[in-house]
Amino acid sequence: MRWNAGDVSAREALVPFVYDELRRIARRCLAGQGRDHTLQPTALVHEAYLRFARRDAANYRDRVHFFALAAQIMRQILIDHARKSASAKRGANAVTLSLDEALDRPAEGPKQTTLDLIALDNAMNQLAKLDARQCRIVELRFFGGLSIDEAAEIVEISPATAKREWATARVWLHRMMSESATV
């Protein structure tokens, strides 16, 4: 019996494909395409998924798996990008907003805030040690652009639980990032 031979090759094909596709999407946004609001990350990930799903309808339907992977890859790409541009800025006279400055701006105001992705990544790594599932929810929401319900489906908890997890994670991460910013 070798029913599972098929899905190994599916995953084989999946990883590089998802990666390339998302890298392309992320780069498109990073190259300034993000200002065009028709390119919403969620839409893009869905688009990537559709392309991927079309490749082989029979084997590649693991939607859940796809989105989880997508979020993971997106996180990696964006953090890498943030690290790179941070090191590029070092030495130059770039002014970095402190976290409070960046975060305390009113939400309605001009979107001039900068979120420190590297600090967020560090805080998320710490959260993962306390509660890996909760960290995954953050990853799916923030990096994967998924809704609460979609994230809930992926980690297989109820939407109500996912909402709680998300709300408490946000607060916790905010605290961690403020602490690291004031040190």
Partner: protein, 966 residues
């Protein structure tokens, strides 16, 4: 904090966040009673609730990042030095960056200039190179109506900039409106613009981005064209054609004024400028652009290609006012002309002139800007004009039809790049200067652009355009260059690419298999010629590749016999190369690939085909082993080798299980090596599957305890993987399958209690997976098979009633899959056989017989093509035989006894006939269900035979319970 503590804190925190702020204190008092530090912890976090606000993490990461980038980009850079220039004031902001008023810092006259800072992911080196190339051409543009390009370079932080003559003026549309110019005056100014464009066209320079904001009119009424040739400097990335840049480009293009060919990526010619001029004139006369406004690029692009603009004279009026009036807010008096008089002016000839310039097909527009201007002059002089009314909608629909593919593919974006290449090529061909440019452009068209759009859905027609066009350029160049070997090589590669776009079955293709073959043959011809004059082994290798491609395509086109000769030649060439220069990876890889193709092509009409195919695959694997030695650290190569071994094992499994075992073991060894080096999940899963394959061969060999042992290893890996990643659905599916494999193997080994346990574990997992994703046909098929296997195990365990329920469930899934076109009908028949067997065990003989007959009704039409169906027939007949034999036994001495034995005999005979059809009988059918044993059927046939012959008068008793014999 530790995880347990955090769970506690989180619980309280969540509750506190959910209650009304007023009740918070009370809530905390209650939840944290006696635990002050818990309360403190929660309180600190609650304080951050407002700090986090609504935005924190609620915008996705990507939009956060783009906001940051946007902020950085839009910061004006006043007072900064760009080369010798210093910026004074921002005067414009466009898709490509900002424009500043600046002056030359070292110039005592402080002459002011316009300085354009180029943003948006443009590679600065590229812009500068392009600028240098274009500078000479653009420097030659000396015309009173053209703003000059003065300088360019990169700033200290590598931002490219361009310096242009500063023009103080208003966009032509604004100028005409604010001065309330008459139609006549508008046409006069417009004609001046035309002379400037015409002047540039004579020098083979196309503007490519004519729009009102690029035509400024100074206070004294002189129109000046800005940004001549700039679009080209910024647009096309000849050197690298990076996909991101292709995306930035389209933003620079203004769809309202861009021609259909620009939007779809067809060749840009002077007619494109004619079109854009037409769009500007339309706006000057009608007060609005020819197409409805939209901010979405795709919509705008589609509009340009499909939407037929209405006549300028019939532009709809809003609330009795023309758009012009609404926009400028001028009094009715100053605009008197704009209402009725101008409307009358526009009717007839002027409508026709504008619409002729705006025609979708370039060749149906004015042949030149000069003709366009001439027609306007004739109109002003009251002479008959060239422009005639167009049967426009008919024409437009034709255009759309022709271009639908391109548009639907949404590749317009990418194709704008192509547009850039085309014009360069055109110029170069005339100028005979940029020979090498053209060559590199054509190549980058084929390789970079093609690759960058490879995976876009629907991009295939676009790929064809690209490759086709590039091929044309290369062909031209090849003719001009005589025997330049380098060019010949490029031409051959281009043909190979074209072939792959046309019909490579492994990639999205145009379905033109014959065309693909032609292209591969052309490539091969060139490779032959090149190899004949070259001493480079790379050319020999390319020749082998050429033969391989032709062979592969012939096979794909349904001519495996024809494919044999070229693949043999390919192998002969590259084997010789490999012998002469051993240890070169490029060669080793090619030979390996050729053997794989050779095996796939097969040896039609050859009696020892199977051996030869295996020999090919084996040689391919040997070469893989060499490749590993050349690149021992390349996990990918190792993995390929492992898969190669698995493929051979797979072929052998059907007829030589022992040999298959060797290859599966080799596969397992390699995969274990890989898993020692990489923790990548997929390699661990491969390893687990290797154990499963080995187990299945042991099953075939009847070594059930070894089979069980290997299945357990398979199971262990899955369990440990899942422990690390418990929510991974794919892993759980794998675990479920492995449980079932182990159960089946245990059942065969006679360990019924393990079989029952593991099969029930398996089903429990699978049931949840199916409930979570009922839309997955593939998974439901697995589930159905598992239910049937579980039923078979229950039958063996003497629980036939439970077995019947499970198998019936499986059967109904198979049936619905079959009806939905997602499964094979033979599976339904296979489930029927298992149902028959379970019913037979439960002594529901009538029902059992019905199931067996139903199975035969389905299976018989599928024989002999379907191996599963043959197994179904074999088992159904033997099941029927058992039922008749049992009936005969019960019949005692009655008259029917003899005929029952006769029936049993003929059913067993039918079963054996079916078994004889199977070349390599196995105890599992390809669909993975366990099946009967021909030896047992033969034994029963002999018994039925002898009892039947003897039953005429004696009373031989049939051996105890034929049907229940294992």
């Amino acid at each position: 904090m530790n995880p347990e503590r955090w769970q506690k804190v989180k619980d309280v925190l969540a509750e506190a966040m959910e209650v009304n702020p007023v009740d918070r204190e009370a809530c905390l008092d209650r939840r944290c009673a006696g635990d002050a530090s818990l309360r403190r912890e929660v309180q600190i976090l609650l304080d951050h609730e407002s700090g986090a606000g609504s935005r924190f993490l609620n915008e996705t990461a990507l939009s956060e990042v783009s906001v940051t980038l946007l902020a950085a980009e839009q910061a004006p850079v006043i007072g900064r030095q760009f080369g010798a220039y210093k910026t004074v004031k921002q005067i414009g902001l466009g898709g490509m960056g900002e424009v500043y008023r600046a002056y030359r810092a070292d110039d005592e006259y402080r002459k002011e200039v316009a300085l354009k800072v180029v943003r948006g992911g443009q590679d600065s080196e590229f812009v500068v190179t392009r600028f240098k190339k274009e500078r000479q051409i653009l420097a030659g543009l000396e015309h009173p109506n053209i703003a000059r390009l003065l300088d360019g370079g990169t700033s200290e932080d590598d931002t490219p900039y361009l310096v242009m003559e500063l023009v103080d003026g208003q966009p032509i549309t604004d100028y005409c409106d604010s001065n309330a110019l008459s139609t006549h005056d508008r046409l006069k100014i417009f004609m001046e613009v035309c002379t400037a464009v015409q002047y540039a066209h004579q020098r083979l320079i196309i503007h490519r981005d004519i729009k009102p904001s690029n035509i400024l009119v100074t206070r004294d009424g002189t129109p000046k064209l800005l940004d001549f040739g700039i679009a080209k400097i910024l647009d096309t990335d000849a050197g690298s054609a990076k996909p991101d840049q292709t995306l930035t480009i389209f933003r620079a293009l203004t769809p309202q004024y861009a021609s259909p060919e620009q939007v779809t990526g067809e060749a840009i010619t002077t007619a494109s400028d004619v079109y854009s001029l037409g769009a500007v004139l339309y706006e000057l006369l009608a007060g609005t652009s020819p197409y409805p406004n939209t901010t979405n690029y795709q919509d705008a692009a589609r509009m340009v290609c499909e939407f037929e603009p209405c006549k300028p004279s019939t532009v709809p009026r809003l609330n009795g006012k023309s758009t012009l009036e609404l926009k400028s807010g001028f009094s009715a008096k100053t605009l008197s002309f704009a209402s009725d008089r101008r409307r009358n002016d526009l009717k007839g000839d002027l409508d026709n002139i504008v619409l002729m310039a705006l025609r979708k097909e370039p060749q149906r527009r004015y042949a030149s800007v000069e003709q366009f201007a001439e027609d306007i002059r004739r109109y002003l002089a009251n002479l008959p004009v060239m422009a005639r009314k167009d049967t426009a909608s008919y024409r437009a629909s034709k255009f759309v039809l022709r271009h639908k593919v391109g548009l639907a593919a949404a590749t317009a974006v990418v194709l704008t790049v192509v547009a850039g290449f085309v014009i360069t090529v055109r110029e170069a061909r005339i100028a005979q200067q940029h020979f090498n440019d053209v060559r590199s452009l054509a190549n980058s068209l084929i390789f970079d652009v093609h690759d960058s759009i490879k995976d876009l859905p629907g991009s295939t027609p676009a790929k064809k355009i690209i490759v086709d066009r590039a091929l044309r350029y290369l062909n031209n160049l090849a003719q001009q260059s005589g025997g330049d070997v380098g060019l010949q090589r490029e031409l051959a590669s281009a043909y190979e690419r074209l072939g792959s776009v046309q019909g490579d079955y492994l990639e999205n293709n145009l379905g033109d298999a014959q065309g693909a073959l032609e292209s591969y043959k052309k490539a091969l011809e060139i490779r032959e010629r090149t190899d004949a004059v070259s001493k480079d082994w790379n050319d020999r290798l390319a020749l082998a590749t050429g033969y391989r491609l032709v062979a592969h395509q012939l096979w794909a086109n349904g001519d495996p016999r024809g494919a044999r000769e070229p693949i043999q030649r390919a192998i002969a060439i590259s084997e010789a190369l490999n012998l002469a220069q051993p240890g070169i990876r490029k060669i080793v890889d090619e030979v390996g690939f050729e053997y794989e193709v050779s095996g796939r092509i097969g040896y039609p009409g050859d009696l020892s085909a199977k051996q030869k195919i295996l020999a090919d695959y084996r040689r391919g694997m040997d070469l893989g082993e060499i490749a590993i030695k050349l690149a021992p650290d390349d996990i990918r190569t190792l993995h390929n080798l492992a898969m190669g071994a698995g493929d051979i094992g797979n072929i052998l499994e059907g007829f030589d299980a022992r040999e298959a075992l060797k290859y599966y073991q080799r596969e397992m060894e390699i995969d274990s090596q890989i898993t020692q080096r990489s923790n990548d999940l997929r390699y661990w899963r491969s390893l687990a599957i290797d154990y499963g394959s080995i187990a299945s061969v042991y099953d075939d060999l009847g070594d059930y305890s070894r089979a069980l042992e290997n299945n357990k290893k398979d199971l262990e890996i899955y369990q440990s993987l899942l422990a690390k990643d418990p929510s991974n659905a794919l892993l759980r599916q794998g675990l479920s399958i492995t449980y079932m494999n182990t159960a089946a193997s245990a059942a065969r080994a006679g360990d019924i209690s393990v079989a029952l346990d593991d099969s029930s574990q398996s089903l429990e997992i699978m049931r949840k997976l199916v409930a979570n994703a009922p839309e997955k046909a593939f998974q439901r098929g697995i589930f159905a098979a598992m239910l049937v296997v579980r039923g078979t195990i229950l039958t063996i365990a003497n629980q036939p009633e439970s077995a019947i329920a499970e198998i019936q469930h499986g059967r109904s899934i198979y049936e619905s899959l079959y009806k939905a076109g997602a499964g094979e009908q033979v599976n339904v028949a296979a489930a029927d056989v298992k149902l028959g067997e379970a019913c037979s065990k439960a002594s529901h003989d009538e029902v059992a017989s019905e199931y067996f007959r139903q199975a035969l009704t389905i299976a018989e039409p599928l024989i002999p093509a379907n191996l599963d169906a043959i197994y179904v027939a074999a088992d159904a007949h033997s099941g029927l035989g058992d039922l008749s034999a049992r009936k005969a036994q019960r019949a005692g001495q009655s008259a029917s006894r003899r005929s029952d034995w006769g029936e049993a005999r003929s059913q067993y005979q039918e079963s054996l006939n079916a078994w004889h059809r199977i070349e390599h009988p196995n105890h599992t059918a390809p669909n993975s269900f366990q099946v009967g044993d021909p030896a047992i059927v033969a034994k029963r046939l002999r018994l039925a035979e002898s009892t039947y012959s003897a039953s005429a008068n004696s009373s031989t008793r049939f051996a105890k319970g034929g049907a229940s014999e294992p």
